[in-house]
Each structure stands twice: as C-alpha cells, then as structure tokens.
Amino acid sequence: MTSLQVNMAGLTLKNPIMPASGCFGFGKEYSQFFDLNKLGAIVMKAATLEKRLGNPTPRVAETPSGMLNAIGLQNPGVDNIIRDELPFLSQFNSVIIANVAGTTIEEYEEVAKKLSATGQVDALELNISCPNVKEGGIQFGQDPELAKIVTERVKRATHLPVFVKLSPNVADIVSMAKAAEEAGADGLSMINTITGMQIHLPTKRPLLANNTGGLSGPAIKPVAIRMIYEVYPHVSIPIIGMGGISSAEDAVEFLLAGASAVAIGTANFQNPCICPEIIEELPKVLQKYGFNTVEEAIGKAVNR
C-alpha cells in the first residue's frame, strides 16, 4: 500500500494534491463533480480586505498549451468570504489553505488576522505574486526586501503556517525564496503565473482587456520545475509545486524536483475531476518509479 500522506509545515495532508488558488473558487462548484474530502488540501481563491471587482473582460485567452488570465483578484472581500464561503469549506476534512492578497502591508496583515481568527483555516498562502493588479501583489514578490517585510509582518499577525507564493517573473528566484524563508515563512508555493500577452488579429489589439495576463497550463510546467529544482537545495522549508500539472506523472516530476505537495490549476477547467483522478493514479505512478511513499520521492532529482 503506497502512502500518499505528506507532513509539511506542521500540517498533515492525506495526499499531496490540492487545487490551486483562483482555479477552484471556494469549492462549491467543484463539489458538484466530486467529494472534496478526497483532496489533500483546498486552496481558496485570494481574499483581500475589501471586495474587489477585478479587471474588465475579456479576462481569459487560450494560448498554445496554456492560457492567459487577468481576473484581477476579484473576490467578495475577506469578511464576506468568512461569512459565506468558509462554513461550506470547513465541513470537509481536507486541509484548508486561505490565499491572502493585498495592496499594502497593512492589508495583508489585516486579512491574515481575520482569517486566522476564524479557527476554520489551517494555513495561509501569501499572494505576493499576482501579475494582474496595478498595486500590491507582484511588487512584493519582485523585491526580496519587500517580500521579507510583508512575510515578517504577516507571520506576526497569525499563528498559522504561512506559505509564500512566489512569482516566476523575477531574475533570481533563489534570492526570493531565501528572503521568504529568512522572514519566517513556513513554506513556499511556486510558481504563480508568468506575465504574457496575446494579440487579437481581427482588432489588432491585445486580446485581454488588461493587455497582459498570467500564463498558466502545461506551457509553464518546465519553468516551474526548473525553479523548484533551483530553490530546493537552498531552503529547508517545504515547497508546494504548481504550474501546468495535469497528470499523476506531472505531479511526480514536481515531487522529484523538490515539491512536497502539488497544486492543480488550469487542468481543473479541462477536467473538473482532474484532482481526484490524479489522486487515484498517483500510487500506481509512484510504484512504477520505485517509491512506496510520496515523501520518498521528494527532491530525488536534486543533488542536495
């Protein structure tokens, strides 16, 4: 019997599979397709202090082996999320990770405090890497000093483990990862989307109303794996890997590169049951490559 259980940052996940933030809403829609208890964890859509209406449409565009999105962190605001969405999620025995976003350090702190006080959230994911908002988000994720400050402040505002979600839109991913670890991060999530653009030929203009968007899907999988592989030897905190995963084989690649768990994003749109299907397949794929547990596979591709 292959063990899928993963222990990381003080959390116990029954398996290493979770839907990625922003691709799964707050779970209700996907619960029509499968039992969310099957998931190792559920990562909620980003919460900001006030509600955000996001960017104009079109907000998504298909690209070769991927897609661009520029939603712009639309969400009902942390209070509404706590009131309307968390009670639904808390009925499941999966680990609940809330994604925290903001435009100022104070906003990150405030959102983190409110979510921590509910007692219904198991960990926070600090979103310092959204490429689709004008203020905040990625600016904290492109400067190691700012990343450090926001991580430290959020760590002081919560008793929960904090995963810092890193942006791939940086020259030196290792220094960002180290900055987060030094600031007290309990883990890393990597990677967020890569900034991109598509031109719409009939209008001769960028297709997305926001002009740029975040590229996701299989197109970015090699970038994600390379970055995790580079970061893994330099940090001692666990990594949640993401970027184009759409099969159990993909998931195992991420584990080998150094991820302790993985998140599934864009693939949910193609197949709403992709998460449970990967969970089902994972033991066979691990066995096939000689692993009896998930933990055995973590970082095996890396010379540490």
């Binding site: 922003g22 691709c23 799964f24 809403g25 209700k28 829609e29 996907y30 029509q32 397709f33 859509k45 509600k51 209406l53 996001g54 449409t57 079109p58 907000r59 998504v60 565009a61 298909e62 690209t63 082996s65 991927g66 897609m67 999105n69 939603i71 639309q74 969400n75 009902p76 899907g217 299989p218 864009t266 949910n268 749109f269 193609q270 197949n271 709403p272 049951c273």
Partner: protein, 250 residues
C-alpha cells in the same frame, strides 16, 4: 451538470462559417432546457468552448448545437466526422424562464450565432401553445440559417445588415411592427442586446450573453458582467447566460 462523452451523429454546414451538429447524449438530453449551454473540450486546446443548445430531442436522445467557426477550436470542431466522440460538460447555466413565464405571445430576437438558443426556446413555447414571433438578423445572405424552421414556429422577419437577404437593416428597425407579445427574448452580439433592451425598455424581456470563459461553472470569475446588484456583478456561465433585461449593465 455532468461531464459526459457525446457522439457526433451528423455534422453539416448551415451557412457561411456556420455548422450544425447533432450529438447523441445520455445525460444532457434529459436535463437540458432552452438557453443552457454545453461546454466542449477539444483535443489540443486548453479551454473548453461554450456552445448553446439549439434543439433537444428527448425521443432520439440527441441535442443539436449550432456554432460559428471563429478560431482554431471551432475550426477543428467543424472537421469532426460523424462517430467522433466529444467530451462535454453540461447542461451549464440557467435556462430561459420558459415554463413559469405565463406568456401568451413572445417575441424572439436573434442576431447571427445568437439565433440557435432562441430556436430551442421557440419550439418549447410553440409546444405549450404560446404564440411565437421572430426577428432574426444576419450580416448578409450567406450567413442566414434556420429561416424555414422559425417560420414554422410563427411570423418571422429576416433582416440583413447589407440588405442582401430579407429586409435591409438591424433587428431594431423592425421591432415596432410587433405589438401583440408580452415578453421578449434576445440573444446576439452585445451591440444588438444594448439596442434591443433600450428600445424595449418598457417590455419585460430576457437576454442571453456570451463571454470568453475559464471554468464554465462559476469558479474562476473570468466571464463577469457588471450588474445592478449589491455584489455588483454576475457570472455569465453560472448566474447567466440568461438574464432579465436590465439586470446586467451592457
């Protein structure tokens, strides 16, 4: 809403860049209502394609869809031979309020590829004994389809932008001729919906919208439209695609 494999029974060109496809389905045909859509996965494409249902035949277990070839995904879809199997999620979204409406006569207003869901709706109303009038607008003669089918439902006026078929003009140019209906239902380009809802401000109506979608089930917030509600928005895929006229800001 379920994910299922549907088999292409027939595929045929209806008009320029316009394709009709009949699909054998187990689940969708039992659940689908006029105004809902199916969400198709195409090999080699990341995002599914939302396509509204043009006819539901419970006896033969088939649904008909009509789509316009506008890009690589629909191009591929148009080449699928009968017997091909398509992965679809559906039926998605909310239907037109056709059962609880209490109408005696309705006006259907369709523009281009917005016409198909109205055919589904018109058939439904006809079967209930509701009188159906239709105004259908197309770019030009080569894009016209389903004229005869709509005429069988009731009085139908066809307009084309360039006057190459039917009457020259937009759907809004002929709406004033119809007086004996109590509710209208419109589907078509945004500009058309804007003009129609403005012109028929005092008449109860419902519109159906389209937008580029991500998940197609309400989770990803890609297909948002501004709305006159406390939240300030609606999701086209799951709150729509059908909205009461005036509910969303066009």
């Amino acid at each position: 809403m379920k994910r299922e494999k549907m088999t292409v029974l027939s595929i045929s060109p209806l008009a320029k860049d316009t394709v009709e496809m009949v699909l054998k389905t187990k689940n969708a045909v039992r659940k689908a209502k006029p105004g809902q859509f199916l969400y198709f996965q195409l090999p080699g494409h990341t995002l599914r394609r939302p396509i509204s249902i043009a006819a539901i035949d419970k006896e033969s277990g088939t649904v008909t869809i009509i789509f316009k070839v506008t890009g690589k995904g629909t191009e591929l879809m148009a080449t699928l031979p009968p017997g091909s199997v398509l992965d679809a999620i559906g039926p998605n979204g909310n239907p037109f309020p056709a059962d609880e409406n209490g109408s005696n006569a309705v006006l259907l207003i369709g523009g281009g590829i917005g016409v198909p869901p109205l055919y589904c709706l018109g058939k439904h109303f006809c079967a209930q004994g509701v009188k159906v009038y239709s105004v259908l607008g197309f770019q030009s003669r080569e894009y016209v389809f389903y004229e005869e089918k709509f005429r069988k439902l009731g009085e139908t006026v066809i307009v084309t932008d360039d006057g190459s078929y039917g009457e020259k003009g937009f759907v809004t140019d002929v709406l004033h001729r119809f007086k004996l209906y109590d509710t209208y239902f419109a589907c078509g380009p945004l500009m058309m919906l804007k003009a129609v809802t403005k012109q028929l401000e005092d008449v109860p109506g419902f519109i159906s919208m389209e937008e580029r979608m991500g998940c197609g089930i309400g989770a990803c917030y890609a297909c948002i439209i501004e709305a006159n509600t406390e939240e300030g928005y609606k999701k086209i895929c799951s709150d729509g695609p059908v909205f009461r006229a005036g509910e969303v800001l066009l």
